[in-house]
Amino acid sequence: MCRIGSIKSKRYIHPSMVLRLMRSQQKGHDNSGFAFIMQDLGGIFENYKELPILSMAVTDEGMKYAEDMLHKIGFVRVFQYNPEVYPDSSLKIETMPNYVFEVFQYPKNYKNASKEEKENLLLDTRLKLRSHLEQNEEGFVYSFYPDVISLKEIGDPNDIGTYFNLWSEEVNLRAKIITAQCRQNTNYDIVRYAAHPFFLQGYTTLTNGENTFYEKNKLMQQKLHRGYIGFESDSQCFLYTLHYVHKILKWPLKYYKHVLTPLPFEETEKRADKNVLQRIKSSLQNLEINGPNTTIGVLPDGTMFNVIDSKKLRPTVVCKDGDIVVMTSEVTGANEILPNRDISKDIYTNERELVVVDNDLNIQRIAQ
């Protein structure tokens, strides 16, 4: 089973912390990859908060195509970071030739563009780049958005950490929000895009379990937004639903829970807001999930949250110690990195609530 975890901190932290969070949850042979997304960046990216960062893993040809394409559109590169790697034949990792994090200035004609126009440009550019790289097997583009970097790789999570020197707390990579997954791949047909966390326009989700309504979700989402593509993992559906509910429909976050796991009819009948809830249930019946899942999500403003399926088949624990909040699929991970916390205050999200952490690390439990 995939292990997922996220850390939200008031100070900048290093990805080694999520590696430790994840490693302690490892069981048996479930080692097929490691992926993480860092948001609200410090370290070497701290001075580029407003500028989009392209995260990709590509061949030399892919690299050249990406640079030419972005140049043609009018993007100007202002900073590039290629993490130093430490190859060793004993490491279980399937590497790509180049790992790239590039910061770009927007094209000149976007100087006075709105946030939405810029977001659309970034999305369309990423989709176009992805499409080309995919067709020619030249690499993977994970995110192209301000203040976000992504890395996904196939192999043993420990070895991936060693390869990228993630175990040592060097100063380059720092962020206040890091979400991560250690993968167990059931199908042995490993696709990098299938690794969580998934990211779209400031929204991040990571999910474990199995989305048994994947087909329903996918068929619906494909027609809702051009950015809802891929579907290499059934868990991508959780991201697209979040994006649709919160960004496109502009509904408050708590309605995400009502879309994923609507209340049974008998329960909605007793509520003052029954008309709204029944409308949501009918109109978004194809975005409902039926478990077993837990989802951790991050909103563009840095809010972090957790919801689980309505049958409580995938637990998640939310732990806090001082400046750090951890959400993860198994408590052993939290014990590893927050050993001194008051465990009596740990929250195990229930099947009818949404647990939300704001930027002051206040934890709110919102009943459905």
Partner: protein, 550 residues
């Protein structure tokens, strides 16, 4: 020399042959009294016994002649045995039985003699292909990562929509203090939450009042006591005044078909209605006899039926189409709009059509309905039943329901509008007795629900089957009181027992539905979740776009 009249119908031309053992018969006469078709009669058989008795003079001939009362099969083009088997049921000595005549010549003889087409009730009696739904299995069983649920202890929410569903971006909610609220002046289409199985449209007239009443009682009981929100469609034949003005109207879907039978009374009752009906169903066609209107023979059009329908004593032949409707757009504009207006946009208005090669075009067009007033699309396949039809329609017209449902659902998916006009599928659902299995599979293929008719009659005690047995619903002589208006035959039907049996069957189906939801790990209806299914027939799998398994 005329020894044989070969041009007359003879016993071995009849579809069913009576086998009678006079030595077992105690001459009670129950079989003759019970045979509603007049297919057997009491007769006298001449018996002659001749024997040689030896005596002193040699021998002598002893001749004994007797007249023995017997039961004899009537040989007639109208009063022929339908194989209902009621005679066998009532015989205390097992002295009479019926067997199917394999020669199948009767239809030919009947037409040659009467110059009439063969008419009957029931379903198609041709079995030219295996049943599609039985080739589909629920094959994606949750086991490890997605554990199965406990069918007995888990809570399931078995609800589906009836009524137009608008896309989420058209809900247009206001946000007030972080809460979504419906806009005050925004009139969203009515949408109701019901059970995914519906009692299909069988009219008073086609059914005896007692049978119709039993279904209505079962519907009310399932809702009020069992909390199973099932709905019943009235059929095109009106509805009793008392029910129209009762609180139970909320469980009834009023049907309007091309004959508009019963609508005078419905409209006159509107000021007195305590509740809105559950829906309005505009019937364009039905699967058993597509392209054909309703058919109620004068024999069944008794006084009560004449009153409810507002018609004189006559054969009631509904036209094959709604007069004055020339297009889908026009039907939306005229019938849907007028029905919506009549019930102040508070009652879902749906349409029922016979499955056809053109169903997808119709559905696609309805999905474009700009007024959001099309509340459901009912498709009826060729294995549906009927109270009366020409056999040629029953056996040779229509379209199988399964692929048609799938086509319509996928057409909606193509437009990103799946679920916006819920699809209800019927026509042979539960015909092998496994309603829950059929329902579950149809739901996975994209149906929001199913409707059943013939199965209810079988639950009630219908002795007919799809192999030519009985099928006499059109005659008004139903031997079990289900499709007759004859007061004596109606008495054979115990209303309360029938209602109880229907309730029991639906309760059982409810359990069985959960027994299919649980292993695939779902607690709500998996509408369109075709990945839960596998098919053992490659062609069917390919056609339905589901996984082939062998």
């Amino acid at each position: 020399m005329t020894t044989v009249n070969i041009n007359s119908i003879s016993k071995d031309d009849l579809p069913w042959i009576i086998e009678y053992a006079s030595e077992k018969c105690q001459l009670c006469g129950r079989c003759v009294a019970a045979c509603s078709f007049g297919a057997i009669k009491v007769d006298v058989q001449k018996r002659k016994k001749v024997q040689a008795i030896s005596n002193e003079e040699g021998f002598q001939i002893d001749e004994d002649q007797k007249a023995i009362p017997v039961i004899r099969q009537v040989i007639d083009a109208n009063n022929f045995c339908r194989g209902c088997g009621i005679c066998t049921k009532v015989c205390p000595n097992n002295a009479i039985n019926v067997t199917r005549n394999k020669t199948e010549i009767f239809g030919t003889r009947y037409r040659a003699k009467t110059a009439q087409s063969v008419k009957r009730g029931g379903r198609s009696n041709l079995h030219t292909e295996g049943r599609t739904l039985d080739k589909i299995k629920v094959g994606r069983i949750s086991q490890m990562t997605d554990p199965s649920l406990d069918a007995l202890r888990h809570t399931f929410d078995l609800r589906t929509n009836l009524g137009r569903v608008v896309s989420a971006d058209n809900l247009d909610f206001d946000i007030v203090d972080g809460e979504l609220q419906e806009k005050k002046n925004k009139n969203l289409p009515v949408n109701t939450s019901i059970y995914p199985i519906m009692f299909s449209d069988m009219s008073i007239g086609a059914l005896s009042p007692r049978m119709w009443e039993a279904i209505a009682i079962a519907t009310a009981y399932l809702n009020e006591v069992k909390h199973i929100p099932i709905r019943m469609s009235t059929g095109e034949g009106g509805i009793p005044d008392k029910l129209l003005r009762s609180k139970y109207l909320k469980y009834m879907i009023l049907q309007i078909a091309s004959g508009h039978f019963g609508w005078n009374r419905i409209i006159n009752s509107m000021p007195y209605m305590q509740e809105n009906p559950a829906g309005i169903l505009i019937k364009i066609g039905q699967g058993a006899k597509p392209g054909d209107g309703g058919l109620l023979m004068a024999e069944k059009n008794v006084k009560l039926i004449q009153e409810i329908r507002g018609v004189p004593k006559a054969d009631l032949l509904s036209p094959p189409n709604h007069q004055g409707l020339y297009s889908i757009e026009e039907s939306v504009q005229k019938m849907f709009l007028s029905m919506n207006c009549a019930f102040r946009f508070k009652v879902p208005v749906a349409i029922k059509v016979a499955a056809s090669s053109t169903s997808v075009s119709v559905y696609n067009n309805l999905l474009r309905d700009p007024y959001n007033i099309v509340g459901g699309f009912f498709i009826d396949g060729l294995q549906g039943g009927t109270g009366a039809a020409h056999e040629i329609s029953l056996n040779h017209t229509g379209h199988p329901i399964v692929s048609k449902l799938r086509d319509c659902y996928l057409a909606a998916v193509h437009q990103g509008k799946q679920g916006q006009i819920p699809i209800f599928a019927g026509g042979g659902i539960g015909m092998n007795g496994n309603l829950a299995a059929d329902t579950f599979k149809m739901i996975c293929l994209g149906a929001s629900g199913v409707f059943i008719g013939k199965l209810i009659l079988q639950i009630a005690g219908c002795v007919g089957n799809d192999f030519g047995k009985c099928n006499g619903c059109n005659t008004g002589k139903c031997p079990v009181g289900i499709t007759t208006q004859n007061p004596k035959l109606m008495q054979r039907l115990d209303v309360d027992r029938v209602a109880e049996n229907i309730v029991n069957y639906i309760c059982a189906a409810d359990i069985e539905l959960k027994k299919l939801l649980a292993p695939v790990g779902n607690s709500t209806l998996p509408i369109g979740r075709s990945d839960a299914l596998v098919c053992v027939d490659k062609n069917v799998a390919e056609r339905l776009n589901i996984q082939y398994a062998c």
